[in-house]
Structure formats: C-alpha cells, structure tokens
Amino acid sequence: MSFRSTCLAAAAVLALMCGAAQAQTLRYANQGELKSLDPYTVNETTTNAHLGHPYEGLTARGKDLKIEPALAEKWEISPDGLKWRLYLRKGVKFQGGEDFTADDVIFSSERVRAPGSNFTTRVPTDSKFVKVDDYTVDVILTSPNPILNAQWDTWYIMSKKWAEANNAVAPTPAAATTPSFASLNANGTGPFKIESHQPGVKTVFKRNENYWKPIESNLKEIIFTPISSDATRVAALLSGEVDVIEPVPVQDIQRVNASGNAQVLTGPELRTIYLGMDQIRDELLESNVKGKNPFKDIRVRQAFYQAIDIETIKSRVMRGLSTPSALMIAPELFSHAGFTRPKFDVEASKKLLAEAGYPSGFEVGMDCPNDRYVNDGQICQAIVGMLARVGVKINLNAQPKGQYFAKVLKSGGYKTSFFLLGWTPGTFDSHNVLNDIIGCRDNPNSSRGETNLGGYCSKAVDALTDKILVESDTAKRNEMIKEAYKISTDEIGYIPLHQQALAWGVSKKVKLAQRADNSVLFYYATKE
C-alpha cells in the first residue's frame, strides 16, 4: 500500500470514528444543576434522574412508571406482611469492579437512614435488613407496609467496599466541614458512569460497557450542562448546540416545533398545583376582616373556587398545556371518576360571598412563588384578576422560592392566609397526599399534616388515612381513598387547579421516551 492510500485510509477511519462518536454523544441542558453526586443528599426529581444513570435501585420504574425488578430480581412478602424477602441479581458488578452482594444492600439501607441523608423516607426507620446469604436479604417490618418498595427506584444502592475505602460511609451532611468523596465521585451499577463532574457546570457520562442488561440507547456519551435562563436554553436547542432541554417554557413550544430541527415532547405531569386557605387561625394574618376568619366559612371557600376560570388559565397562561383537576392528585395516580370541579360562575360566587356576610368582598394577602412551577407568577396574577371580579381584593406577594418557602412552611410558622403550592406524592400514592397535605396538623408530635399549610382538618379523613396505610387489598384500599377524597373535596379543604404538563425540547435526531414523573432518562434515548 502506498503512503498516500494509507493516509487516505487512516483519514477515512478517523472520519468514521469521529462521525460515529459525534452521533452518539448527546448534549443535554436542564434548568437545574447537578450539585452533589452523593445519591442520599439531594432528594429532587432532576437530581434523582441524573443519578439514575450511574446508580440504580433494587427496583426500577418503567416508562409507564410501573415497578420493575432491577438489582432485586424478585421479592416475596410474608402472609402477615411483616417480612419482605429480596432475591438479589447475581453477576452484577459495580463500575469500580466490586461485585454486588447482600452486604451492599445492607450497607445502603443503613447509610440511607443515617444522619445527613435526605432519603430517610425510603426505608422505614424501625425496619431491619438481615442478610440471609450473599444474594438474599430479609426486610423485617414492625407494621405491614404494602408500598414499602414504592420509592426504591430512587434509593440507589452503593458499594460497601468503595464507600469504606474512600471514607464515604456516612452521607455527606449539610454541615460537613470536609468534602466527601461521594459527592464528587459515583460508583454504581447503572448503565452510564460519570466520566467527569464539575458541580453546577458540566457533567460527562460515559456508557458502562459492562452493564448487566442490554439497553435501547445507542449513546456512548452524555454531556450535561445546566442552563438556568429559559431563553438561553431554548436558544441553545434552536441553534443545535444541545440535543435535549428540559423544560421548554410553554410559550416557546410553538417556536421550537416550528424550527424544523427540534420538537417538544409534551405530556401530563404528576404534580398538582393548588390553592390553599388558612382555616386554622381565628383571624387571618393578612386581611381587612378582623375578629373572624372568612375562610372558616365553606361558602367563602366555594365562592373562591367558583370565581376561578380554570379553562382561561389553561388556554392563556398555560397555552393549553395543563389538565384542570378536581382532585389533589393527578388522574394517572388515582382515578378522577366521580369527581368534577364546581362550575366557574361569577354570579354564584358573588351570591355565596354575600350570604357569608361579605357582599362587597374583602381583602386578603396571597403568597405565591414566582420561580418554582410552570408560570406560577402568572397564574397567581390571573387569579388576582378573577377574584377582583367577585369583589375580593388580593394583595399578591409573589416572590422567589427561597423567600416564599421560608414564609409559608412549618419552619416559618405557616405565615400565610392564601397561597399557591404544587405537590407530587413521592410515593406516587394517595396515602402521601392524604397524610402530608390534607391530614390534620393538630398533633405536634406527629408528622401528619406538616405540609398542610392551610390547616384543613377532618378527623374522618385522618381515620381513613390510617387504614389506607395498612390495607393491602387494592380494591378496598381504593374505595377508602375515594371516600377520603370525597370528604375533603366536599368540604373544599383546598382548591386544586391543574396538573401542569411536561415539556421537553428534543432534537429531531434524538428519540426519547418521556416518563410522567419528569425524569429525563437517557437509557431510553437513541440518537442518529
């Protein structure tokens, strides 16, 4: 072979390699940053999705969010519901080369409950993990828990040996004084490994060639960059600098779809956006009504409900990308059959207010985040206008989430009279909704109702909630859940608005499955 042809051949090979490598590198931009790689520190959807690439749990959730076996091949529950036997997958290796065994599961079960972990709810605090043999683990519970493994897909299993060798046995606490190895490095069993990680700047994932099962993705490399500014993120997608962005602002969806080189994947999200009213205090903190609390009167709550034109919010503020909701949970998680929103009716609303003794309305302050949910500030403004038409004057206090949450949450003393909030049940189950945001908050020793900012309280709902937790018959359980929702909806404890929609901007070269929990997972992605 002549020198010339060798050269040409080399160039061709090089070009092929480059071309191939290029095609299989996916660039991804998200609004949020990837901060710590320690899988037990930041419990938030985006972070969990990122870390779901290097790490995986005992179970996984499929594209339809159904629970699937992962590191646990199967599990059995004893008849009394107090013992779960987990059969672990054999032959799985961590990316660092360690074998995956029962020791790692037990280690992870301890680490996830250790101080500094933000995932303590993944495993009941009083449960025991017992090693039966290298590939079998028993979980001993003190009370039955049919949804024990509901959040195990984001309880990522770490290697005991690796953690011990690198002084990362405990989760990195917020008050850490020395950097933790685990927050800068990852060693899981997942389909991708972390090649480099610059916190908040850039993270590069590489395909884990030794992954234990084939995946549909053809990606060799994923380059993740956070882009917090909406316009810049959209610009980066339109100019082809990135292949996938999340989220696309709803008003830009048309523009992206019209661009020809990218499109927007939309779908319902599981988060429910709702309004809450202080029903606990005898006098509202921020109102011109003195000596009584108008929200204690169900007619006032219903008047508010009927004053809100949710369809116009959907068409104008959300550009059609929302699902008006009659319940405090998404229809994907619990059927809405039998529930409807009270009709939008300004006259009825005015009449109710007059009956309640406020013929010319009243004034009340409203708290609202302006950088947390899709167009949250605009939704609140729209509601101010709608309530103005029934005579209620709202003093809107829309602020960044840092200040907003500091004011309205328990730690801030629930200092709100009227607010907008969003909630996704972490377990994807109604019990979480009934317990955390609808349950009474009158018992200071119980964690029930801690995020029940309006303080709505129904003992009947609480009693049902307790039964729902331990009921393992699905049909009976659903009946009880429905009843609990019925009570709280009839009493208008809260005003659900809608489920917002997912909007992912995806290059036409990329095929990607969209999961309703807003996890962007690239083992479902292929790129031309």
Binding site: A231, L238, D252, R316, Q399
Partner: protein
C-alpha cells in the same frame, strides 16, 4: 509668598442659569429642542397617565385574561381597543406603558436624587476635610461597592418585611427600590466629587476664601460645589436611565415591583419571556419607550452640562 488673590467670584447655580444665555444656547440646538420636547411629552404622559390611558392596568378587575397576548391593532388578530396589543395578563400595553413610565420615573428619579444627595454630601466632606473623615467615608464606599444592587434590594426588602410582617408587597416595593437604588449608586457621585474636590481645595480661590474666614460648609457649597458639579450632571443623566434599568433587572430576578403594578422595566422583563414565541410587541414597545427616554434625557444632560459649565465661557 505672594499676596493672596482675592476670592474669585463664583456665582450660584441659578445666577449662572439666568446669566448663561441659556435660552439662546437652547434655541440654537435643534437636537436639544427635540429631546426636550420628547422628555416633556413622556413626563406629561407619565404624570397624567390616569387621564390619558384608555384603561387602568393596575386595576385587576378591569384586566381580562382572555385578552392576553393580543397583537397590535394593525396586525392580523389585533383588536382596535388595544393599539399596541396586550401583555400576558391581557393588559392594554399602551396604558401599561404610560402607567409603567410613571412608576419607573418616580423610582428612578427619587432613587437617583437620593444617591446624588448622599454621594455629593459625602464626597464633598471627604475631599474637602480629608484625613480621618476622608478615610472613613471612602472605606464606607468600599463596603458599599461590595454589595451589588440586587443584594441591597434583597437586604432592604428582607428588613422591611421583618419590620412590617404582613405589609403587602405593593405598598413596600416602591420604597425598597428607591432606597436600594439610592444606596447602590451614591458611591460614584462621592468618588467623583471627592476626586475633583481634592484638586479644587488646593486652588487659590479656596485658600483665599479660607483666609477671608468663610466657614467651611459655605466654602464647600458656594465655592467648591459649583466647580465640581459638572461631571455629576453627566453621571446623573446616565444614572436616571441606569436606575430604570436596574429596576428592570431586579424584576427579571423576581425581586422588583409586584407584577400587578408593572413598571416599564417590569414590562420589559415580562416581554423578555415572549421574545422567542413571536409576541414581539410585549418587549418592543416598552423597550423602545425606555430607549427614547434614555436617549432624550442624555441629550438634555449633555446640553445642560455644556450650558452650565463656567469654564466654557
């Protein structure tokens, strides 16, 4: 040493305005006249917005969400009720601009005045008195410069909230912004005035005034100030614009005026969100209004500076 020269007579500002053929110089410059006309129109529009504007965009009961994002009247889908179209809440943009202009000018004007007052006072004191006073004031300035306007706004906002726990944002935001702008901008005046004062105070006329026995405050105000105020006018005009823009930036970051009472800057930051979606009018009309205002104010400032400069004659 030579005999002290008798103090040079430095006429007061007003005296100089009347004395400076100011009208003549004004009439000579067509550009200045146009700029003055524009500024006058904008100020009138702002001051009388409740009477000029067809709707009241600050009254939520009169704003209909169903009217949101309507393009300008001359475009397809436009509505003759809304000449410049509507914003994302259905507010008439023309009315919103007039009302917003008023809010912006009040915040910018008061903020800049506050900054200039603090800055000029401290700058004169520092430059004229020197020594410990100078060091103290300049070190305070250093501390001040460390805190970007955003942070000052957050801080004052926080303190105000701490004091008035449940005051509505609509009531407090204006004061928070005026004080934030005042506190973030004074350093530039102080440093500029101090720099010039350091030079002026060694000049003969100041020495002379001191020898005559004039009290220090009088020397500072009547003799030094008129000679060092020139550059301040340039800064003042730029700062009025900058204050309006800072307010817009704070809105962009979510700590500005409540969106229910949008200023010009708030309108721009709202419109910024709709730049890619094709609703160009929401950002364009407030943006153009702001640009025209800034341009005109600056041209006036330039002219005023030349007209008032004692050394130019």
């Amino acid at each position: 040493m030579t005999m002290p020269i008798p103090p040079k007579k430095v006429p007061s500002l007003w005296a100089r305005i009347l004395d400076s053929d100011i009208l003549a110089s004004f009439l000579r410059s067509k550009v200045t006249m146009v700029a003055a006309l524009i500024v006058l129109l904008l100020f009138i529009g702002a001051a009388f917005s409740p009477w000029i504007a067809p709707t009241n965009p600050f009254d939520p009961a009169s704003v209909f969400l169903a009217d949101a994002n309507i393009p300008p009247a001359w475009q397809d889908g436009g509505d003759p009720r809304f000449i410049f179209g509507t914003d994302d809440q259905g507010r008439d943009l023309y009315s919103a601009i007039l009302y917003g202009l008023r809010v912006s000018l009040v915040i910018g004007g008061l903020g800049v005045l506050l900054a200039a007052t603090i800055g000029i006072t401290l700058g004169l004191l520092a430059g004229y008195l020197g020594g410990r006073v100078d060091a103290l004031i300049m070190r305070i300035a250093d501390v001040q410069l460390t805190f970007p306007a955003i942070l000052i706004a957050l801080l004052i906002d926080g303190v105000v909230r701490g004091i008035f726990q449940h005051a509505s944002r609509e009531d407090t935001a204006l004061y928070v912004l005026v004080i934030s702008i005042g506190l973030s901008f004074w350093v530039q005046y102080a440093r500029t005035i101090r720099g010039s004062t350091l030079i002026e105070r060694n000049k003969d006329y100041v020495h002379a005034a001191r020898l005559v026995g004039l009290p220090a405050p009088l020397i500072m105000l009547r003799h030094v100030l008129p000679n060092v105020i020139g550059p301040v006018l340039v800064i003042l005009t730029i700062n009025l614009a900058l204050a309006v823009i800072t307010e817009a930036t704070l809105s962009f970051l979510g700590v500005g005026l409540p969106p229910t009472q949008p200023s010009l800057g708030t309108l721009i930051s709202i419109g910024n969100r709709y730049l890619f979606s094709g609703d160009w009018w929401i950002v364009t009309f407030p943006g153009v209004t702001l640009a025209i205002l800034v341009l005109a104010v600056n041209l006036l400032g330039d002219w005023l500076r030349d007209a008032l400069n004692p050394r130019l004659r």
